[in-house]
């Protein structure tokens, strides 16, 4: 599995994302210029020029027509994917951390960090696809202020996602919390704490029925969207920066590694900058892919399951096409009962009967 090295960014990669169809790969880094690549061969199709700060997040709409980017230059921009033209700039009060399209791609939401006297806030913008971009209002349709914590500590949001059918806005925080907001009224619907430390990223499966949170507490956790039930935990020995759910296999990909700030004090081989593969159900790590020499900041797996991309602090994006041996891999537990397994079950029962006597 020789990866395609996508050379185009000059600084740490912050996000990599496939579009819905999996033919395009969108990437952003701290070098201000998001890029679009053909996922088949890793050729760069183009760049989106205009931001003056780190791009923290981006999201492409369902039909890959428009792209929204969130930048540390306190703006979000709306782009035409085909021409690379900036359709509109939405000015915020602070650095924009996340941006997400709503289902239907006629509105998007952003989260911005607190800045001087401004609190962190969620903004929802209406950008109907059939309207002329010049008619889009400059101000958001809805603003949700995120005040400081009761103890005066500022809590920063890290990710934003629309839940199915736009019924809730799903926001993750750097204190390990997840909150749900009503996108119509701005009311807080729910709050829970999957982690004790920062949630670096959250990602959903294509159906948006499962999500996985990646945290600085060395774990990633799988939840279902309907009941927000905790299903599985994937443990590592390093902070997890991103985790994705494979669409075609019962696998989870985890990326992370020693924090960038302490990397210089340790030798490269102990940074654990590998992509780790876990079994979705059994929570067992069964493989790693090495290559990066900085912590992996972003992961994305193609919805068709044939390749995945990883972007790291080292500024490289590696696009890996899976080998046949991986694609042919079967679940370690066969569907049929193994010979003797039933006997064993009986045996076990006898034993437990004895114990109860």
């Amino acid at each position: 599995m020789r990866p395609i090295l996508l050379k185009g960014h000059e600084r740490s990669i912050t996000v990599v994302k496939f579009n819905y169809d999996g033919d395009l790969l969108f990437t952003a880094s701290k070098d201000h210029v998001p890029s679009m690549w053909r996922s088949e061969d890793g050729e760069r199709i183009g760049t989106f020029n205009g931001h003056k700060g780190t791009i923290w997040d981006l999201d492409v709409c369902r039909f890959s027509r428009r792209l929204v980017t969130a930048s540390a230059d306190a703006s979000a921009k709306l782009w035409d994917c085909e021409t690379g033209e900036c359709l509109k700039t939405f000015v915020h009060h602070g650095p924009v951390r996340g941006a997400a399209w709503a289902d239907g791609s006629n509105m998007f939401a952003t989260i911005s960090d607190p800045f001087v006297e401004h609190n962190a806030q969620i903004s929802v913008y209406d950008v109907p696809e059939n309207d002329d971009p010049s008619t889009y209002p400059d101000t958001p349709r809805l603003e949700i202020e995120l005040p400081k914590n009761a103890n005066g500590k500022r809590v920063n949001a890290t990710n934003i996602v629309w839940l199915n059918l736009n019924e809730a806005l799903f926001v993750t925080f750097d204190n390990g919390a997840i909150r749900l907001y009503d996108p119509q009224t701005g009311e807080e619907l729910d709050e829970f704490y999957p982690h004790e430390k920062k949630i670096n990223r959250v990602s959903f499966n294509l159906d948006k029925t499962l999500f996985i949170t990646s945290s600085a507490d060395f774990t990633a956790k799988l939840y279902d969207v309907v009941d927000l039930n905790h299903l599985k935990t994937y443990k590592t020995d390093r902070p997890v920066n991103d985790a994705v759910i494979s669409e075609t296999k019962d696998h989870i990909l985890l990326g992370g590694g020693q924090e960038a700030m302490s990397v210089t004090t340790t030798s490269g081989k102990v940074g654990k900058f590998e992509t780790r593969f876990f079994h979705l159900v059994y929570e067992e790590e069964f493989g790693t892919v090495k290559g990066h020499f900085g912590p992996i900041n972003a992961l994305a797996i193609n919805p068709n399951g044939r390749c995945y991309a990883s972007g790291a602090e080292d500024g490289y994006i590696r696009l890996h096409y899976f080998d046949k041996s991986y694609l042919d891999m079967k679940d370690p537990v066969p569907e049929e009962l193994e010979e003797g397994e039933e006997d064993f079950e009986e045996e076990k029962q006898i034993v437990s009967d004895d114990e109860s006597d």
């Binding site: 819905y20 369902r62 289902d103 239907g104 199915n164 059918l165 736009n166 159906d207 948006k208 029925t209 499962l210 279902d224 969207v225 309907v226 039930n229 299903l231 599985k232 020995d237 390093r238 020693q258 340790t266 030798s267 081989k269 102990v270 979705l280 159900v281 059994y282 679940d331 370690p332 537990v333 193994e338 003797g340 397994e341 064993f344 079950e345 076990k348």
Partner: protein, 717 residues
């Protein structure tokens, strides 16, 4: 009458009702006898010898503390040796009064059972106790009820494990756990302080320590003392109060425990307890008397480490080095052996033999006498062997585990004292006369280790002690030489000659420590410490196979008692400031061949890893017998392993099957939920159905690329 009045008038002013100032000070009247003791069992001597005996006894009791002396008396008055006038002899007892009560109590402890001479062992009684005893009539005595028999926990329980597994204990974070290790798979928790957790406390907050045979598990409670645990369920077996305890040492036979709180100002810094009775046998200050030279500046004195106590192999003696002497205490009374220390002029270090009551010590050059290494037999104090050495800078002595050999690494200097060089002095302790062989090594020797239960040893040497590439050499105390074939015998006979010879040298190794397997034969060359690479080289000395592995930042290599498994750890001291690295603290288990047994276990904080020691119960012959029939056992064990492995796998599969079924039902529920929203989603996408595969049109495009073309002229002949 008039005269009286006149008299009183003339005396007016001399007497007054007001008290005198200042009041005369009277010594407080003693109303009790708490400072007094009675010595009994003294020899009964004729009154002519009374004075002499008085002197001796007075000298003895004065060693404890000052004898009470009243004003205007030159000689102590608090001492009385009565004479029986009728027999014209002493009664055999003495009354002593000290200046303080503490001295009286000290006398009670120290002089109790003191061997006054061959036939007289002193008994000390507090005066008050004696006087109260005097009033006891015989009828009052009732036989004390014997305590009901309480079965002690079977401290060998873990050895009865059906899988013959070894155990180890770890300390990390607030947790302490004892695990089983079968040398094949992941360790399994045996006991992790669940009972204590239920009670809301940690099993251990400080260090842990196994006893030398693994019977006891000691947990240190810093401000209280030591608790011992043992038996199948790790129940509490004993508590030993020792405030500030910093570390403990068990005696090799597990009869005694020694606690140390490392407090220079505590006269009872070191305490020795009997494990069975829980009784404090004796306490010592951290440094023996006169050990620290008063003339040295304080800062320098602070840097001198306290001399450590050492137990003899059979628990009979406890010894500590003092100034020019070794104090040897005899258990269980903890009194000086033969009432005097072993004089060793200029002693620098001593070591007990691990298998016999032999002390080896060395002393540097002193005045006109050369440096020397001495072997002294106990209790006879006979010098078994003395070896004089010249130009010695430092010696270090290493006993072989069976006590058969003693190796002394001697660092010498040239006459100019500018350059240092090494040699080894090798004592064959079990041979008559204890022959010593000298082995010259030009290089600096960084480490020296005997192969446990073998005749080989390994040294780590390099020309320059600071160089990163070092050499490892193996030597054998015996040489196999082939004698020339004699008449009548066709084959050359292999004779074994007691002669040190080099087996081989591995050159250019990157390591700073060596660790023999307890089973011998395998040795690990490790590069340990923060700045080192953590390289581990597993070397089989007989097959000469080498496996190289790595555990980055490892600082310890720990063999299990069987020599099957070895652990490497990254650990930090408790309370040693902040953790330099918050990650990778933990341990890795390897087989003796260097195969990694399990994924590294890491913890936020990792303090200790200790294998549970156990006794070697099989004799050498039995072990040889087993290795002869290894094929038979191999089959047996393999079958057992296979069955166990299969059982484990099936169990695991079953669990997985269960969790897969549960997960699948969750997924089905989610899918159903999503299916219900299909129409609404379609509406959001303007009627486009994402799940309708017919929306995708697959075009097949055939592209032809000309890679290269070449024109060639073909000539037809």
């Amino acid at each position: 009458m008039a005269s009286i009045e006149e008299e009183s008038a003339s005396l007016d002013g001399y007497f007054s009702d007001t008290p005198l100032e200042p009041r005369p000070s009277y010594p407080p009247l003693l109303s009790t006898f708490e400072r007094s003791i009675i010595l009994t069992n003294l020899p009964k001597v004729p009154s002519s010898k009374h004075e002499k005996l008085s002197k001796v006894v007075l000298k003895l009791v004065s060693r404890i503390g000052n004898i009470a002396t009243y004003e205007d008396e030159d000689s102590p008055t608090g001492f009385y040796l009565p004479i029986d006038e009728a027999n014209d002899a002493t009664v055999g007892c003495a009354f002593v009064e000290y200046e303080t009560e503490t001295d009286a109590k000290k006398a009670l402890e120290v002089l109790q059972d003191y061997k006054f001479d061959k036939n007289h062992v002193l008994k000390v009684t507090l005066y008050e106790r004696a006087s109260s005893l005097a009033n006891v009539t015989e009828e009052e005595f009732t036989m004390p009820e014997p305590e009901p028999y309480k079965e002690r926990a079977n401290t060998m329980a873990w050895l009865e494990d059906s899988c013959q597994r070894d155990q180890f204990a770890i300390r990390h974070g607030n947790d302490t756990g004892v695990y089983w290790c079968d040398g094949k798979g992941d360790p399994v928790l045996d006991y992790g302080g669940e009972r204590e957790k239920k009670a809301g406390i940690n099993w251990c907050d400080y260090y842990i320590q196994w006893s030398p045979k693994g019977s006891y598990f000691a947990t240190l409670v810093p401000n209280k003392g030591v608790i011992l645990w043992g038996g199948k369920d790790f129940e509490k077996l004993g508590r030993f109060p020792a405030p500030g305890v910093d570390f403990v040492t068990f005696s090799p036979q597990e009869n005694y425990i020694l606690t140390n709180n490392n407090n220079r100002n505590d006269p009872q810094a070191i305490k020795v307890f009997s494990i069975r009775t829980g009784k404090l046998l004796r306490a010592f200050p951290l440094y023996p008397k006169d050990f620290l030279d008063d003339k040295l500046p304080e800062a320098e004195r602070q840097n001198i480490p306290p001399p450590a106590f050492q137990w003899s192999h059979d628990d009979k003696y406890l010894a500590r080095m003092g100034k020019d002497l070794i104090s040897i205490f005899e258990t269980p009374k903890m009194s000086l052996l033969d009432k005097r220390s072993l004089a060793c002029d200029g002693i620098n270090e001593f070591q007990f033999s691990p298998k016999a009551n032999i002390i080896a010590y060395w002393a540097p050059e002193h005045k006109n006498s050369p440096a020397h290494v001495d072997l002294i037999e106990l209790p006879s104090r006979k010098s078994l062997r003395q070896k004089n050495l010249f130009n010695v800078t430092k010696c270090s002595m290493v006993w072989q585990e069976d006590g058969e050999y003693l190796g002394v690494k001697v660092t010498r200097h040239t006459k100019s004292k500018k350059t240092l060089y090494n040699n080894l002095e090798l004592f064959r302790v079990n041979e008559p006369g204890i022959p010593v062989e000298m082995l010259d090594i030009k290089d600096a020797v960084m480490a020296f280790q005997w192969e446990p239960t073998g005749s080989r040893f390994a040294i780590l040497h390099a020309e320059n002690p600071t160089s990163t590439k070092v050499n490892v050499s193996f030597y054998d105390m015996f040489r196999t030489s082939s004698e020339p074939a004699k008449k009548g015998k066709k084959k050359a006979e292999n004779a074994i000659v007691a002669e040190v010879n080099k087996v081989e040298t591995l050159e250019g190794k990157q390591c700073n420590c060596i660790f023999w397997s307890p089973a011998g034969r395998t040795i690990i060359l490790a590069s340990l410490g923060d700045s080192a690479s953590g390289t581990l080289e597993f070397y089989d000395v007989e097959n000469k196979t080498l496996t190289i592995k790595e555990h980055y930042r490892a600082n310890q290599v720990l063999w299990d008692p069987s020599g099957r498994t070895v652990a490497t750890t990254v650990s930090q001291p408790i309370g040693g400031g902040h953790f330099k690295f918050a990650m990778d603290n933990g341990y890795i288990l390897w087989t003796f061949q260097g195969k990694q047994l399990s994924q590294p276990r890491s913890f936020e904080t990792f303090y200790q890893f200790q294998w549970r020691p156990r006794e070697k119960l099989s004799s050498k012959e039995e072990i040889a017998e087993i290795s002869k029939n290894i094929k038979k056992y191999e089959k047996q064990f393999n079958a057992f392993d296979e069955a166990k492995k299969r059982k484990l796998r099936l169990e695991e599969t079953r669990e997985k099957r269960k969790s897969r079924a549960a997960f699948r039902s969750t997924l089905a529920r989610l899918k159903e939920w999503r299916a219900r929203q299909k129409q609404e989603r379609k509406a959001l996408l303007n009627g486009y159905d994402s799940e309708d595969e017919s929306n995708y049109v697959i075009h097949e495009v055939v592209m032809e690329t000309v890679l290269s073309s070449k024109e060639e002229l073909i000539t037809t002949a």
